[in-house]
């Protein structure tokens, strides 16, 4: 049993019900034994940094789960077969937050500190 994190990029044209249904069916493949979906976070439609399959936008979803490594192979092959999934990434979870970084409300003060540091360095 290991902790994983997956990022899906769906076609931006899908209805939210379709996306929910797809997530449900994919996650069903991971479940069994003690497997558990620990987080599903919808980032929503975002602009892609470059076009994928002719699309400039994609619907991002981040999911975290705990499952047996042997369940990943069928899970990933299902994703690869689905043309509604522009791209997906499965990585071992390192305890990162699934929430969209810009919504996390991390301390802005640090950012300012960085800039101050840089100014000082350049004076040196």
């Amino acid at each position: 049993m290991r902790e994983y994190e997956t990022v899906y990029i769906f076609q931006p044209t899908l209805e939210s019900e379709e996306i929910e249904a797809k997530l449900e069916s994919y996650h069903q493949r991971l479940l069994g034994d003690d497997a558990e979906i620990t987080a599903v976070e919808h980032w929503g439609r975002r602009q892609l940094a470059y076009e994928i399959a002719g699309q400039a936008n994609g619907y991002y979803v981040v999911a975290q789960f705990r499952t047996e490594p042997s369940r990943l192979q069928p899970f990933e092959s299902a994703l690869k077969m689905d043309e509604a999934v522009l791209r997906h990434l499965v990585v071992l979870s390192e305890g990162e937050s699934p929430v969209l970084p810009s919504l996390r409300g991390e301390d802005e003060e640090d950012e300012d500190d960085d800039r101050d540091d840089r100014d000082e360095d350049e004076e040196d």
Binding site: A49, Y50, R87, L89, E96, S97, P101, D114
Partner: protein, 73 residues
């Protein structure tokens, strides 16, 4: 090129793990063309520079940041 920096900014901020989903953070560690900045420019320690490298490559794959900025063709 950025001036000499004594300490790793990520260490200063007690970053345990560089998150590949945090595109705003990663953008500070790539050039305006999208290349990964070398350690001599970022001042990052070995551990964080490695994490940055992996995170930037994952973020590129997910189209959160570009492979090449401004490429048309």
């Amino acid at each position: 090129m950025t001036a000499f920096r004594k300490s790793c900014k990520l260490c200063d901020r007690d970053v345990e793990r560089v998150d590949y989903k945090n595109a705003d953070l990663l953008r500070r560690y790539i050039t305006d063309r999208g290349k990964i900045l070398p350690r001599r420019a970022t001042g990052a320690c070995s551990r964080h520079q490695h994490q940055l490298s992996t995170a930037i490559k994952r973020a590129r794959f997910l189209a959160l940041i570009p492979y090449i900025e401004g490429y048309r063709g």
